[in-house]
Amino acid sequence: MRYVKISPENTYEFLSRLKGMGTLYAPSKISEQFYDFQEVDDVKDVEFDYHRTIRPPRRFFYPVEETMFTFDTHKVELKEKLPRKERVILFGVHNCDIVALRIMDAEFLDEQPDPYYQIRRQNGIIIGLSCMPDEYCFCNVRRIEFVDAGFDLFFHELPDGFLVRVGTVTGHKLIDPNMDLFSEVSKKDVDNISEFERKKADAFKVKGNWDDLRYLLELRMDHPMYEREADKCLGCGNCTLTCPTCRCYDVKDKPSIDGRTGERIRFWDSCQFRTHGLVAGGHNFRETKQDRFYNRYQCKNAYCPETTTAYCVGCGRCTYFCPADIQFRSNLMEIGGYQEVKK
Amino acid sequence: MMAKSKKAAKSLKHPLSIDHIARIEGKAGIEVEYDGSEVKVVKMNVYEGPRYFEAITIDKPVEEAVAVFPRVCSFCAAAHKITAVQAAENAIGLKPTEQTHKLRELLYIGDFIESHALHLFLLALPDYLGYPDAFQMGQDHKDILTAGLQLKDIGADIQTTIGSRYIHQENVLIGGFGKLPTKKSLETLAARLKRLYNASEEALENLVSYRNWPEVDADRIHLALKPYDNTYTMLGDTVVASDGDKFKADAYKIRINESVVGHSFAKHGSYNDQCFMTGALSRYTLFGEGLSSRAKELANMYESHLDPNNPMSNNFAQAVELVHFVHRAEEIAKSLSTEIKPYEKRIKPKITKAGTGVSMSEAPRGLLAYTVGIDKAGRVVENDIITPTAMFMPIVEADLKRMASALSEQGVSDTKIIAQKLETVVRSYDPCVSCSVHVADIQ
């Protein structure tokens, strides 16, 4: 792998140059406590020190709502409306979100590719950014606190800039014409990185891995946690909508007022909504709030071959953004019998 | 069918009844009683159901109550919201910032533009041009309808930009706003308003070919709120009457009363026990000097159409106001777009003691008064709302009687024509019937 180094000032210059290549999105502070990926207007607004964005990066490749087809009933024809090939550059993606995108890729591109996602993804550039976990993070027990693939460039924080890993040919192409901004990596830089990773490992509140969790989830299906926690649940779907790997969508026809044309759209759905398991005739396969709550715990912890562990990447969003303060990680620890690290 | 008459009377010996006046806000009818020789009584029956706003908000938190008050009416939701919020602020003893005041005024102007445009273009002009509704009018007069819809849109968009939507704005809170409009959105509004100067004159130009009906000419008292900056606007704290009197808004209860009448869920207002007029014509009559230059120029040109003694002139006064307010809104939006302090925080109300606050403002249809009293826990203990339509209801009936009597004397016997003429008189007041219902003192 190729490694280069960049200074803080040059990073801003590099970001400015990136802006010229497409639409650049980066984390930005949107309120006291929350961050979101926003289109970069002034590179100085880019937030390097953040934990999680309120909306997951998947929305850039799989928008909240998109038109799949347009139709005209007089012609009885569905016309596919594929997205335009627009270059989207995501800067500042944490490891958990990078793995999440790989999970999305596996679901949307492997086997039968989804054309909409595919076109957007092919035109996307992912630039990673290292991070220090907070009390909500548990990517380590999902064994993804360090990523080897899924990014074009990855920026590792150094005391005096960033060490940049180049992940793909696209990544090389981003670096090569801008070599005036980059320098060689020194031995000290490497020591700094390894120190950073050691600190990071220490910062997690949980240790080890949770590979056995899925079996325990199944063996403890009647655990009282479900009833207790589902009772708190607002059914608002925030946990799934902020989740970087949730991908359920619903499809709906939007007829227009002329009585003949319209659009077939798809939009993000949530398994926490009543209609998710509802079939014609009125039977609901996930009838109660608790059924729906339980379903998410199973789904998120199911085996995912792409990450070798689970569909949950431990980003902490579902807990951080839960208005009802339901602690996903603690609840899982209760099921798995795991303990927090004593400090 | 224009109106339903109970009997197709050939002479005026029979009573006449209009069940549902079309093209006004709310449900009201007209009943004309004859005693065989002359018109005795004309009643405007308001059978819009009561909603008891003053009673249901008692004992409720004042911040929730001010979210409920504007739901009195959709046409002038912003008017109710701003007036109620100001009354609540007075009760608490909270003084909003200059910027909040300016933004509220701009929002309020948005309400004026939208409400006037709707009334003039969609509800009134079809009368003058001889169509049952604006859709059919639009088939022959596309330009007029387009101008009307553009003005309605800008009025709505001003309210949406500042207040979150154009009916029942939630982003008008005690102490300020949740989020302020961006510089860019204000610039856009200013630019759009500038392009609408011509459209704003369209209604006036179309109305001037029609004359006021002399049948409803009569002396009358006008009441209007003195604009706070001596120009021409809807905010202020002193009421001026055309009889030379003036009084502080706080003391409105001494001068303006409401009483219950049997045929209406709307109460009837009076000023020193006389009926009076309020609305665009009253504002113009009392404060026309403060209009912006273009509006004043046009008003002077069409002076004969702006007769303070003829309610039909109210339409013309509204048309003049439309010109004025498009100009004024553009000015405010432009100045706000450079001066706005985007991070100015709303002043959170801290309620520690009981208090009562009064606020009056000029709604599109005239004077609107709110009294809100709260206890030290911030719960509403008393309130009083008097709406313009309730205030002018008695004079509408008086004018209807004048019209019916005159037609009777002229020997007009076609009930259809009479009905249409009576309806047009009502419409010239632009009454807001749902506003007028559910308002009175809590004893």
Binding site: L78, E80, P115, K252, D253, R266, V279, G281, C299 | -
Partner: protein
């Protein structure tokens, strides 16, 4: 990038409704033909698979195919009038065009059934996919041993394909085919009464060498599994098909997810046909 020319997984084919035939108060049988001769020629499906039927402006609905897999260019759907799209389909007149995507799902592993007796057990709308299984067996009669079909419904007039099955009864006996039709809650029905389970003894098959295909409400499966295993049916040849909400049909939209953390499945892609072991080991399937 070269892949872009491949047809989209959501590609819809135009199909013309040729014939509509009312089966019961709620269900009708619809015969469709592909408009595009090329598609008509190449389009194939397996019993147990389903298609997404699409009406412009209304949406899509998954329906299992109930005709013989042998017929090329044509297929039949038995549709219950139950929702937005299906009620509109019921209003369609012959000649109308609809959109069809698919076929989707795994279908019954018919080749594994070859050389065995066949037992089809249907309850209610479950007869629709099983008719396709049954017709496959008739089309390939020489590949199967004895065949029994048990068709049940709450009321006699709700029995799907009742007349069709009744009509072939005489020949059926000669062909070693047993047809059992029963109404569970209809005392006036002039036939058998009681649930399908009650009439299992009428199955003219050898449990040791029989393939079982079932479709009905999940409650039926539980009792049926116990019965079948007890009677010595080979669990490896017991299959059921499940119903779930399906929007995409290709394992993307997530609505038909089933199972638990160790075995997470999509009914549209991993199913809708599941074997005995899947059903009994994965909680939540039924």
């Amino acid at each position: 990038m070269s892949k872009e020319q491949e047809p989209s997984i959501y590609e819809t084919h135009k199909c013309r409704l040729l014939r509509k035939y009312q089966l019961t108060d709620l269900e009708s049988l619809f015969l469709f033909r592909f408009e595009d001769p090329g598609v008509a020629q190449d389009w194939r499906f397996m019993p147990g698979q389903f298609v997404e039927v699409s009406l412009l402006g209304l949406g899509e609905v998954p329906i299992s195919i109930c005709s013989s897999a042998r017929r090329v260019g044509f297929f039949e759907l038995c549709i219950r009038n139950a929702g937005r799209v299906t009620s509109a389909i019921h209003q369609l007149q012959p000649g109308s065009l609809v959109g069809i995507r698919g076929p989707y799902g795994n279908g019954f592993p018919m080749e594994q059934f070859h050389g065995r007796d066949l037992l089809c057990v249907a309850a209610g709308l479950g007869m629709a996919p099983l008719r396709s299984v049954f017709l496959y067996a008739l089309d390939n009669r020489w590949l199967f041993g004895n065949i029994t079909i048990i068709n049940s419904a709450k009321f006699g007039n709700e029995l799907l394909f009742q007349k069709e099955l009744e009509a072939m009864k005489d020949i059926a006996t000669a062909e070693n085919i047993s047809i059992v039709q029963t109404a569970t809650r209809d005392p006036d029905f002039e036939g058998l009464h009681g649930r399908a389970t009650v009439h299992m003894d009428k199955a003219n098959v050898d449990p040791k060498n029989c393939a079982v295909a079932m479709c009905g409400p999940p409650a039926m499966y539980r009792g049926m599994f116990d019965y079948l295993v007890e009677k010595g049916y080979d669990p490896r040849y017991i299959f059921v098909t499940l119903e779930r909400r399906m929007k995409c049909g290709v394992g993307k939209c997530g609505h038909c997810n089933i199972g638990t953390a160790t075995s997470w499945k999509y009914a549209c892609k991993d199913g809708p046909v599941f074997d005995y072991y899947a059903i009994t080991s994965i909680p939540g399937l039924i």
